[in-house]
Amino acid sequence: MSISTARITTAELAFRGVGKDYVSLRGEAVRALSPIDLDVASESFVAIVGRSGCGKSTLLRLAAGLESPSSGDIELGGEPVEGPPDAVRYVFQNYSESLLPWRTVGDNVRFGLRHAYARESGGSRREQQELVEHYLGEVGLAGVASRYPGELSGGMQQRVAIARALASGPRVLLLDEPFSAVDALSRANLQDLIVRIWEQHRLTILFVTHDIDEALYLADRVVVLGASGAGIERDVVVPLDRPRDQVAAREHPDYLQLRREVLELLLG
């Protein structure tokens, strides 16, 4: 599949002059993010990369309505974002705290069903059970519904968190360094999983990472943020065909060229 097909249509998420300043504990004004303009096309996969402190997580938290911007406006599907929007679900880096540890894996996914967007959360117990199994199957975790999150490995817990988010039927998925706490081999599997889910559910994904390879492998488009909240430094389209292969894609000349550009930008 090429990205030039009809996937990209209108802007799902629009940032208009959005910036964020904090006041530090010592009373100094700290610029977390200089005002930026960014349109995220509907059903596109956009990665945000940058060094620590560049404001990439702030950008995501603003989109999630967890923080409000110091300047500018954010729109979701044409509606202004004031507080967490219903169509958006957030996948935290810290999966072990985001999952409810006192609920079983199945009940965590059911939590997503019960707090679903634009869908009847009802259905009989049996129908819910089937849906829970369906979403767990989708993230490759069939048969673990009766376990507690604490009994699973980190990668599996993050899969549960993704299944829970999917169960609530969002249009937009925001992921904040979701795989950075997972070992390298599990991470490769999770990357392929998130692409598969993105394609099947026709989601719009905004994916924050500090891993350039991850960003280039996953996304249609990579937005590079400058250090210390300087704002958008580069905005590149990743011209690789899909489906991408973990090995071949990373050896593609276009990929290597882009990787070099972005790396020089971030390191230089």
């Binding site: 705290e97 409810l100 490995s153 599996m156």
Partner: protein
């Protein structure tokens, strides 16, 4: 409020069991784990019980070698205990104390949970009650007994009041700490799933607080038992404390020891019961924490 006094739910007496890295075959851990909790409680402490029995044996042997009346012996205490339970007033005194204690405890737990939890979750409630709670919780309940006697007499009302006062603060402070233990990620998870205020309390904050609350209830029970004895001694009109005081004044050493041992056994029993309950209702924590 500083909650330095409240114990974190992760207590020291834990054995660790590492979480399975990948989906290994499920460890032998049947669904009816709760039923197995009681034997497990004693099995894990078997060696400690050998120590207790060894101390009793040493006491008994020393009594056989040279009997000292003021030290008595386990054998004599045992005989005296049986008589005190079956014919004497020990059982009645104990039940009398436990009755008022149960009433005080039964009021203290829900009230303590409600106040502590709301103080942890609602800023206005905290601001309203924090100084009052801090002053009252640092007032020794023993110091309050004379005041209670003055206003409530020496009947049930005074005793229930003292038990209530003794039991409420451990529950309240732990419920507060539990309500405060909700992490930023948990709070934001609730926000992004658009849970309302009640839903957030019911589905996120209260379950997060439950391990703390159970620890608080267990601490409250220990304090109640202390007060059970003190009340009897200060009010002097019945109950287990009065029974112990009378045995002491009559210099009836075996009866004194029998009564003290009874209080100790009741305390141990209640504590064990609560540990088993904690284990049962915080099963999800058992991948890294144990009774």
């Amino acid at each position: 409020m500083t909650v330095t006094t409240s114990t974190r739910p992760t207590e020291v007496d834990e054995e660790f069991e590492t979480a399975p890295e990948e989906l290994a075959p499920r460890p032998a851990r049947p669904a009816s784990r709760g039923r197995r909790a009681t034997p497990a409680f004693f099995r894990s402490r078997a060696w400690g019980w050998v120590v207790v029995l060894a101390l009793l044996a040493a006491w008994q042997i020393s009594a056989w070698v040279k009997y000292v009346p003021t030290v008595s012996s386990p054998e004599r205490v045992g005989i005296e205990w049986w008589e005190a339970i079956t014919q004497g007033g020990l059982l009645l005194a104990l039940l009398d104390t436990l009755r008022t204690m149960a009433i005080g405890f039964a009021i203290a737990v829900p009230v303590g949970i409600a106040i502590g939890f709301l103080m942890g979750r609602v800023r206005v409630v905290w601001a309203t009650l924090e100084p009052l709670v801090e002053i009252l919780r640092l007032t020794p309940a023993t110091a309050v007994i004379p005041v209670f006697i003055l206003f409530l007499g020496i009947g049930d009302a005074m005793k229930i009041g003292v038990f209530l006062l003794a039991a409420i603060f451990p529950v309240l402070l732990n419920a507060y700490a539990g309500a405060r233990s909700v992490s930023q990620t948990q709070r934001e998870t609730a926000q992004t799933f658009r849970l309302g205020w009640w839903e957030t309390q019911w589905e996120v904050a209260l379950p997060a607080a439950i391990p703390f609350i159970l620890v608080g209830a267990r601490q409250a029970l220990g304090l109640s038992l202390v007060m059970a004895v003190v009340i009897g001694m200060l009010a002097g009109n019945g109950g287990i404390g009065y029974y112990i005081l009378m045995a002491q004044q009559a210099l009836d050493i075996p009866r004194l020891f029998a009564a003290v041992a009874t209080v100790a056994a009741v305390g141990y029993g209640f504590n064990a019961l609560f540990l088993v309950l904690e284990r049962r209702y915080t099963r999800w924590r058992r991948t890294d924490a144990h009774t």
